[in-house]
Assembly symmetry: C2
Homo-oligomer: 163 residues x 2
């Protein structure tokens, strides 16, 4: 029991959850996103500029677009991330809705509840800024995981691609 | 044939598609949204202020949040609407994704392709600002309609409610 508490405390100390910082690009943030889908090479100079511009653009949205990361303080690497943006509507007395996107956990460090921690952080943020609900689109394979996070299937997601 | 062309021309003249204007609140915009879900009473003075603030807030996003409406120029009523907001990502070389929400056509004027016109307007907008795809969540009942608009089911939508 003593050991378990100690381990759990150590893990909490080791994996720090916080908002994205611009320096996270050097801590493997893009490599992590590449586990989700296509991302540019971080050695590309043009992408350096694009990344900084996009970071600033999103930072300007303040609480309306939050990207969270988990840093492994032992390795100083970003090992999990996810984002939430706040949509503002006219319906339901000008309500707000959170949209969670791009959740990914480093494939080398799975099974430590880091995904759940990310989704919890983003869900709590949406709640704290007054959203009445949060939407999260996922493939059927990942549905059981999001159900454990308190999400329930409601509709279907349809997509149109331009490229 | 001559008649058909004339009717089609008349319809095009009658149903004008454009971006939302603040004066559309007096043209039944909120009553139309009420066909979709709960909306406040337009006679509520507090809602007047909330509406104007939200309108301004969304207008400040420029091309990143567009609400389109169709006005019936005969009755000067808003008979269809839908919105699209542009999400900015880091993945895929800082790509953009459009999200279509809150599409509704007046139940009294259905079967005139107005829904298809709204979805087309919003999809074209997302394409014009450089999105690589557009996402549209819908219930299974409406899926055949969105398939006619060129959308295909990809994932499932999960939701968590706070209220």
């Amino acid at each position: 029991m003593g050991d378990t508490q100690e381990n759990s405390f150590t893990e909490q100390e080791r994996f720090r959850i916080r908002r994205l910082e611009i320096s996270d690009k050097k801590k493997g943030f893009i490599e992590l996103l590449r586990q989700l889908t296509i991302c540019e090479s971080i050695s590309d100079k043009d992408f350096d500029k694009d990344f900084e511009e996009r970071y600033q653009e999103l930072a300007n949205h303040g609480n309306d677009h939050v990207i969270c990361v988990i840093e492994d303080t032992h390795t100083e690497k970003i090992v999990a991330t996810g984002s939430v943006f706040i949509e503002k509507k006219f319906i339901r007395n000008c309500a707000k809705v959170g949209h969670i996107e791009d959740v990914v956990v480093d494939s080398l460090i799975r099974g430590m509840q880091l995904g759940k921690k990310v989704v919890g952080f983003l869900t709590d943020h949406a709640c704290s800024v007054g959203c009445y609900k949060v939407i999260l689109d996922c493939n059927t394979e990942n549905k059981p995981f999001y159900e454990k996070c308190g999400y329930k299937q409601k509709e279907v997601q349809t997509v149109k691609y331009f490229i």
